[in-house]
């Protein structure tokens, strides 16, 4: 069965079995992947999976079914069973399909489908993985023998139909290349612990890149990014402890952009919890240097969509402008609960309220070059890698990082591990510089960012 047929049948079946409204999202994903090690293909895999997310609404109650390859009888049984469960849930006036005026599919060509990538043979996928592996070894002979690489090609056919008559579909592709390596570095001074023999330090590095087209992923660049991490930790040392300015390289600053987007998401805004630290639209949420944008219609963007998971048309949304919160990231449920309109960021979840997610998120580039930002740091930390997930306990944000100690505006030496902490509430108001080096290379991007101070505690 084609995706549209499945979606239409699921909606009509739901209506026949008592749903007042129904909406079916069907995604067929064909994936080919290869992993290589030491010049040989270790794993080559392929899958072809059809996944249905069906939302049904009745008496202001919502319920969700997710299923892979269901038959009609499966669906009938599940819908009936779910009806019994959902009768016990509370009515909520915010449940329901997206508003008709918001529904729609983007009309132009967003350049997210590459026929060549969709048709890529598994043999070519394996060759691409081997190319990435050899690129690492070619760029740095120390890596010979301890490199692995993966290449993944995905083609999706996405269809959404609802009981109001909306039924649209689109196709998209993704290619991802990743490389990993481990080397023994000869070092003058070892950090907290020596992982190898005396005078050496084992260092691991990894990098990956994702694009919508085959030509969009570059093995050489991914290999170079991997190698850069290897050399950067050579001769790591312990840094001072205390309050210092912190500069985040773009690859880690993107995590802060992601965190900001969560803080201005509908679920957080409507929860009334202490997580909602950005205030209300129109209020100063963070440093005036920050403008945060979600662009769902970026041509060729990794997160670009023709419509979101409830059929709302995509758009470019400025979430924070010059530090002022201007818009929440919303789906229809949270838009209604906050008396606003959906921003087209619905994400299907088992919870019938659905979640929200950014599409292509970025912090707008600033005026300072990364060199000039670093030059202003008398003593501080330049963060190039996050070593843990960001964790909030009680009122603080804490993050384990690796990077460089900065002395007199220059990178003095690498630091293999340190903990950074700051009170969460004022964290984003402490950003004092934004770089002009925004890289347009992922679903979440940021230029270099600098915080006026965080507490640094080195490992060891």
């Amino acid at each position: 069965m084609q995706v549209e047929e499945i979606a239409r049948k699921a909606v009509s079946m739901s209506r026949r079995r008592g749903a007042e409204q129904a909406e079916a999202l069907v995604v067929r994903q064909e994936e080919k992947a290869a992993g290589v090690f030491k010049g040989r293909v270790e794993l080559s895999g392929a899958s072809d999976i059809v996944r249905l997310t069906l939302r049904v609404f009745r008496d202001n109650r919502g319920a969700t079914i997710t299923a892979q390859g269901p038959t009609e009888r499966d669906l009938e049984a599940m819908i009936d069973r779910l009806a019994e469960l959902s009768r016990h849930t509370a009515p909520d006036k915010h449940f329901g399909l997206s508003d008709p005026q918001d529904a729609g599919k983007f009309a132009g060509d967003l350049k997210i489908y590459d026929p060549e990538l969709a048709a890529l043979s598994l043999q070519r996928v394996e060759e691409k993985a081997l190319e990435a592996e050899s690129a690492v070894m070619r760029q740095d002979s120390r890596t010979a023998g301890l490199v692995s690489a993966n290449f993944q090609a995905r083609a999706q056919h996405v269809c959404l139909c609802n009981s109001r008559g909306f039924c649209e579909s689109y196709r998209g592709t993704h290619a991802t290349v990743s490389t990993n390596t481990v080397v023994e570095n000869q070092v003058v001074e070892v950090g907290a612990r020596d992982g190898g023999d005396a005078g050496t330090e084992r260092v691991a590095a990894a990098a990956s890149s994702t694009a919508r087209t085959l030509s969009g992923v570059n093995s050489e660049e991914t290999a170079a990014a991997t190698i850069k991490q290897l050399t950067s930790m050579k001769g790591s040392r312990r840094c001072p402890s205390g309050w210092f300015p912190i500069v985040f390289a773009p690859d880690v600053a993107r995590n802060l952009a992601g965190m900001l987007s969560q803080l201005c998401s509908g679920p957080v805004a409507s929860s009334g919890s202490e997580n909602h630290i950005l205030g209300k639209p129109g209020e100063q949420a963070c440093s005036p240097l920050i403008t945060l944008v979600d662009d769902a219609i970026k041509e060729g963007g990794v997160g670009t969509v023709y419509f979101d998971h409830e059929g709302v048309g995509p758009r470019r949304t400025v979430l924070i402008e010059d530090g002022v919160l201007s818009q929440y990231l919303l789906n229809s449920y949270y838009a209604r609960s906050l008396d606003r309109r959906s921003t087209g960021n619905a994400m299907a979840t088992p919870d019938p309220r659905f979640g929200v997610r950014p599409s292509n998120l970025y912090i707008r580039r600033g005026a300072s070059s990364p060199e000039s930002i670093l030059a202003d740091v008398r003593q501080g930390f330049y963060v190039t890698r996050f070593m843990s997930h960001a964790v909030r306990v009680v009122s603080n944000y804490t993050q384990a990082v690796a990077g460089f100690w900065v002395e007199g505006g220059r990178l003095a030496y690498p630091v293999r591990a340190a903990a950074l902490s700051i009170p969460f509430e004022g964290m984003f108001k402490n950003i004092v510089a934004v770089g002009d080096d925004l890289k347009d290379d992922g679903p979440v991007a940021s230029p270099t960012l600098m915080m006026s101070k965080m507490f640094v505690n080195p490992l060891g």
Binding site: D48, A77, A192, R193, V203, N396, L459
Partner: protein, 517 residues
């Protein structure tokens, strides 16, 4: 919800005509109502959609028709129902049904895997032939397929009352009581949210080693999250606890709502009065049970054989070497009844086992899948696990724990003049190559003059796994397996695991992240 069983004949007609999902659905009802049928429920489900042992053997043979060392067929059909309770109302009712098949051939170091959600015979024979064509069998051998024989494995999931068939009202009543118990725990509790999910996984594996194994795996998860705040203070705390495992509804009879609520509340409450933590290298005492997650991350992952095949792990090539304090003996034990990480057999048809990884500080073994075992000329250990049918099996932990020592836990705390006691953790991460790890305790206390005093805020523990294992100077006799549900992520695959440890003293560990504005 009705418990009435459907007529067997009517079921067969429906099931044969409808495919895997319906067979699962109805068989569950049929099988769970009949203790005799329950043992064979999974095999019957797959047979009823045309995937009997003969056909599974034919698929394995087809996959190997162009050669190869090993092949297997993995079948999965799982169904879940879920609901949430926000303290005032039930929200988010949902159901999930997942089914599919993966066929794999291993030839030398090369593995070819194909997965599909289409469980029809035509689709699967086509898939098996594709796998055979893609495999780099060549000179790498050509395993023949012996007659499939059932795998002898224990039943670690002794479910007496299946959660799925309990009346909805009974489940919801428990959730209400759980939220009420959390709110009643203390006036500081601002809100309590509860979530519930029951799952039944039907699994089948047929291998070219002649094994066929079926499993019916129930999973129950009930989580509670509490938020606490002090009147007139900005200080807040929050914590969550997820209980369950391979249980039926009897879990609720054996675990009172008050007990589950107290697990989350105690952690959150400790944060309310927390003071800033000291900084620097200090003795750290890890409390029993939950602290096992540190062991899991800092040591366990480095002992998974795929990292060692490639030489990526700190522990690569160190079998037989002293890698930890002689007080340390670490096991991975997939055979503990009902635990979240327990498995009757792994996803490659190898019976689960209890294997020593480190004995008295000496590295004695890695956790293996069939593939890594073959490459390292070792025996599979029953650790080949996958998130679902579409994922390749990897060496993964099950229930990993540090064996009890002989110290009195109170003596361990008394031995520390100034240090940190950590009991619960938000999570952590580890660099497999160097062994460096970071952990954030969500419940930690200052130890002063051998006594636990103030709860601590904003503690980050940083160290090196192999290093701290050599700094363990006392191990308590109070080994406890965590009753929290844990999920472990690796290569994009999440699987259920369990951790455990007795009270442990680490002589020096970096305590960091402290700040005061």
């Amino acid at each position: 919800m009705s418990n009435t069983l459907i007529d067997r004949r009517r079921f067969l007609q429906a099931g044969l005509g409808a495919g895997a999902g319906l067979a699962l659905w109805e068989l569950y009802r049929l099988g769970m109502g009949d203790k005799f049928a329950r043992a064979g429920m999974s095999s019957r489900a797959f047979k009823d959609i045309g995937l009997d042992e003969d056909r599974l053997g034919r698929l394995v043979a087809l996959a190997l028709e162009r050669g190869g060392d090993y092949a297997d067929v993995f079948l999965e059909s799982s169904m879940s129902s879920a609901v949430g309770y926000d303290g005032e109302r039930f929200t988010g009712a949902g159901m999930e049904l997942i089914g599919g098949v993966a066929i794999r051939v291993v030839a030398g170091d090369n593995t070819v895997l194909r997965a599909t959600g289409d469980m029809s015979w035509e689709s699967l024979t086509k898939l098996a032939r594709e796998v055979a064509s893609a495999a780099r069998a060549g000179a790498s051998g050509s395993a023949s397929v012996p007659r499939l024989r059932p795998l002898a494995s224990p039943n670690l999931y002794a479910v007496s009352t299946p959660a799925f068939d309990e009346p909805v009202a009974a489940k919801l009543d428990y959730l209400k009581r759980l939220a009420a118990a959390a709110k009643a725990a203390d006036p500081s509790v601002r809100d309590a949210q509860v979530n519930y999910r029951d799952t039944l996984r039907l699994l089948g594996v047929a291998t070219s080693t002649g094994v066929v194994a079926y499993d019916t795996c129930p999973v129950l998860k009930v989580g509670v999250a509490v938020r606490v705040a002090k009147e007139g203070s900005k200080q807040v705390g929050s914590a969550s606890f997820s209980g369950g495992g391979h249980y039926g509804f009897e879990y609720f009879r054996e675990h009172s709502p008050e007990l589950l609520a107290s697990r989350a509340f105690e952690i959150a409450r400790s944060q309310l009065d927390a003071v800033e933590a000291p900084s620097g290298e200090l003795p750290v005492v890890l409390g029993p049970a939950y602290s096992g997650v540190l062991l899991h991350e800092a040591v366990g992952h480095g002992l998974e054989a795929d990292f060692n095949v490639k030489g990526y792990s700190y522990y690569s090539g160190r079998i037989g070497q002293q890698v930890a304090s002689p007080l340390c003996t670490i096991y991975d034990d997939g055979r503990r009844p009902s635990l979240n990480g327990s498995i009757n057999f792994d996803d490659e048809g190898v019976a689960s086992s209890s294997i020593p990884l480190i004995e008295r500080g000496r590295l004695v073994g890695y956790m293996h899948s069939r593939e890594t075992a073959a490459r390292m000329k070792a025996n599979p250990t029953g650790n080949g696990r996958r998130q679902g049918f579409a994922f390749p099996p990897l060496p993964r932990m099950t229930n990993t724990y540090l064996q009890a020592g002989d110290s009195d836990p109170a003596d361990i705390i008394r031995s520390v003049k100034r240090g940190v006691y950590a009991r619960a953790f938000a999570g952590g991460s580890v660099n497999i190559t160097t062994g460096d790890f970071t952990f954030v305790p969500t419940e930690a206390y200052l130890i002063e003059d051998g006594r636990m005093t103030a709860p601590l805020a904003n503690v980050l523990l940083m160290g090196n796994g192999p290093d701290i294992m050599n700094r363990i100077s006392m191990v308590g006799y109070d080994m406890e397996i965590s009753d929290n549900l844990w999920e472990c992520g690796k290569n994009g695959q999440m699987i259920p695991v369990t951790v455990g440890t007795p009270t442990v003293r680490i002589d020096a560990l970096t305590v960091g992240g402290t700040l005061r504005l």
